[in-house]
């Protein structure tokens, strides 16, 4: 009896530890995302030339989307393999289409 209780206590404290970690990650990513957004605005405000500013902002955007998917939408957790595969499949098709359009229609 006593033993069992102890086990449950252990599980509970493990769970608490996990939640704490998770919370920490969520907050860090949240802060990072705000930082990214601020940087993006700052880049434009600083009057950096467009050839540098546009790619920089795009990179920031891609990283931010990654964080959104993996942390806020829990794609890093187990059981999200199929949605992940489908999202990457969709991205792949979209890139392919954009690339072909760009090369054989407008080039």
């Amino acid at each position: 009896m006593n033993n069992e209780n102890m086990n449950i206590d252990k599980i509970n404290s493990f769970q608490k530890q996990q939640n704490k970690e998770e919370m920490k990650k969520q907050i860090i990513t949240f802060v990072l995302m705000i930082a990214f957004t601020v940087v993006a605005f700052a880049v434009v405000a600083s009057g950096l030339e467009a050839i540098y500013a546009v790619p920089l902002i795009l990179i920031l955007a891609v990283v931010q989307v990654g964080f959104q998917f993996y942390y806020f939408m829990h794609m890093k957790d187990e059981g999200h393999e199929v949605p992940a595969a489908l999202i990457y499949g969709g991205i792949w098709v979209a890139i392919l289409v954009a690339l072909t359009m760009a090369t054989i229609i407008w080039w």
Binding site: L86, G90, V97, I105
Partner: protein, 618 residues
């Protein structure tokens, strides 16, 4: 018990039942019935085309009407016959194969069906209200489709938009169902091939249909609201339509053929009494076909002038598809090798499929050789190619599935004699019609022309082709007679009339509304066969008998669809008169209002109680 009560219902009650049903089996039946109806319409149009071409310079129908016939035939057959009938079988069978009680989103399932059905109705209304049906071909290339007078092409745009939305919903629904609702023990690599192909087909739908949706929107705005996406004179680009259409269009042909592959991969092992040869490679080949299928669309545009580099890339990618397809052909042959084969109607269709489809694949590779395609393109050679794959592959698959699963769906078995008669009529008619067209094409007979001239060596070939078409028509009529005869007098059967291998045969025919009284425990590939070989003969339950949660039926999907339908008609006619905008507003308000009501009103479904389940006999 429950069956007896259904039989006593009046006509009104039955109609209401079908209008509101969210049961995947009933929705599957409706998809197949509606698809069969459109198949007959499309078949009639085909016969009219063939009568026109029975002799040189025939004047059975006018040139304009001929263009409407070929457009409506192609559009109807692809979007409203073949696709929905296959989706019908997926609905009816796939949840049973994975041991699920329904699809993941029963409400969406019903909405998807009604959108498809009213899309088809809208398209066909163009005959009466459109000042002529659409006449720019099923591909509706701009700028031809922009020039087409009357409202025909507008009906095409709105009809396909409605049904496309429905198909997209169906695809998403199947994906979620297969990922989340498999019975205990049903791992991915234990899923039957038909479930696998349903899964991969749904992924194709998910990625391919948006391209069509976008293309149709652009066409809609060009035709109805004065934009100029495809209008070269105003700086648009007509080629974009071709790309968007074929980015959708080529995956669409795989959306059609993959389920048929799945069907044959069920039937051949069942009647060879052997497990499917090379199961893993079959799954792999299905994925490979889907993957490559997205990178070959420009093979429909070799003669557009994409340049040698683009043509070469797409030609190589196209030919690569023959490899996974070949893997499948050899696997089916190897499955039969050394098996104890039963040849009945279902198996006859499967056997006939293999050589017929192989011919179509071979001409496909020929067409895929870009430089040679300059000779073949837009001739009857292409017509022969795609009918060999679509009729010899998809339609044979549909007939095979009809014979194989009819007992499961309706509890009666189709008449064997009539089945064989219809097979031979159709099979002979099919090869008579289309084999000769290869040569007509090579001799230079162009596609989509309403007459051909005398003494150019085309007369006999065309006559033979028309005779074949009538044989196919006869074959189809015999299938219909068979279905009616069976519904009235057919032999009743048990749950497992074929002594088959997969889960759907472990439950009664037709299945009760909850499918599985207790979810089955799956112990391997061909789960029912495993239990049979181990002497048990039936599935081990994975749960005790418990209350089963069921979704409530709903009339909302039907009302939403009516709303979108009215709005579509409004869009078409507001070009003539602004008053029709009222129909747009009213229809949209009806549809969106119903969505709001549906979102705000909680509907928790109901339970079938344990006691009632226990009372029903096994």
């Amino acid at each position: 018990m429950s069956i007896a009560t259904t039989q006593k219902k009046g006509f009104g009650a039955v109609l209401w039942d079908y209008l509101t049903t969210v049961d995947h089996k009933k929705i599957g039946n409706m998809y197949i019935a509606a698809g069969a109806f459109f198949f007959l319409i499309g078949g009639l149009e085909a016969l009219i085309i063939r009568i026109q071409l029975i002799k040189p310079e025939n004047d059975f129908i006018s040139a304009g009407l001929y263009n409407e016939m070929i457009t409506m035939h192609g559009t109807t057959m692809i979007f409203f016959a073949a696709t929905p009938i296959l989706i019908g079988f997926m609905n009816a069978i796939m949840p049973l194969q994975i041991g699920a009680r329904d699809v993941a989103f029963p409400f969406l399932n019903s909405l998807g069906f009604w959108l498809f059905f009213f899309g088809g109705v809208l398209l066909n209304l163009s005959w009466i209200f459109g000042g002529g049906a659409p006449d720019a071909g099923w591909t509706s290339y701009a700028p031809l489709s922009l020039q087409s007078p009357g409202h025909g092409v507008d009906f095409y745009v709105m009809g396909l938009q409605l049904s496309g939305a429905g198909t997209l919903m169906g695809g998403i629904n199947f994906i979620v169902t297969i990922v989340t609702m498999r019975a205990p023990g049903m791992t991915y690599m234990r899923m039957p091939l038909f479930t696998w192909t349903t899964f991969v087909t749904s992924i194709l739908i998910l990625f391919a249909f948006p391209a069509l949706t976008v293309g149709l929107f652009l066409l809609m705005f060009d035709r109805m609201f004065g934009s100029a996406f495809f209008d070269v004179a105003l700086g648009g680009n007509a080629i974009i339509w071709q790309h968007l259409f074929w980015i959708f269009g080529h995956p669409e042909v795989y959306i059609l053929i993959l389920p048929a592959f799945g069907i044959f991969s069920e039937i051949i092992p069942a009647f060879s009494k052997k497990r499917l040869f090379g199961y893993t490679s079959m799954v792999f080949a299905t994925f490979l076909i889907a993957f490559l299928g997205f990178m070959v669309w420009a093979h429909h545009m070799f003669t557009v002038g994409l340049g040698p580099v683009a043509n070469a890339i797409f030609a190589v990618a196209t030919m690569a598809i023959a490899v996974p397809t070949g893997i499948k052909i050899f696997n089916w042959l190897a499955t039969m090798w050394g098996g104890s084969i039963t040849i009945n109607s279902a198996m006859l269709w499967a056997l006939a499929f293999i050589p017929s489809f192989t011919i179509g694949g071979m001409t496909g590779v020929m067409l895929g050789a870009a430089s040679a395609d300059y000779q073949y393109h837009d001739t009857y050679f292409v017509v022969a190619h795609f009918h060999y794959v679509i009729v010899g592959g998809v339609v044979f698959g549909i007939f095979a599935a009809t014979h194989y699963w009819y007992p499961k769906m309706f509890g009666r078995i189709l008449h064997e004699g009539l089945g064989k008669l219809s097979f031979w009529l159709f099979f002979i008619g099919f090869h008579l019609t289309f084999f000769i067209q290869h040569f007509l094409g090579l001799m230079g007979m162009p596609r989509r022309y309403w007459v051909f001239l005398e003494n150019q060596g085309l007369d006999t070939g065309n006559l033979i082709s028309t005779i074949g078409a009538f044989l196919m028509g006869l074959g189809t009529i015999v299938v219909l007679i068979n279905v009616v005869y069976t519904a009235v007098k057919g032999k009743k059967v048990s749950g497992d009339p074929w002594d088959a291998r997969t889960l759907e045969w472990a439950i009664p025919s037709p299945p009760p509304e909850y499918n599985f009284k207790q979810l089955p425990l799956v112990r391997g590939l061909d789960p029912l066969w495993i239990e049979k070989t181990e002497g048990k003969g039936k599935m081990t339950p994975a749960e005790p008998v418990v209350d089963i949660h069921m979704p409530n039926g709903s009339i909302y999907p039907f009302i939403m669809t009516i709303g979108f339908f009215i709005a579509s008609i409004g869009f078409i006619f507001q070009v003539d008169n602004n008053v029709w905008l009222l129909a747009v507003y009213f229809g949209m308000a009806l549809a969106l209002g119903t969505m709001v009501v549906r979102s705000l009103k909680d509907d928790h479904g109901y339970h079938i109680h344990k006691e009632d389940l226990e009372r029903e006999a096994d």
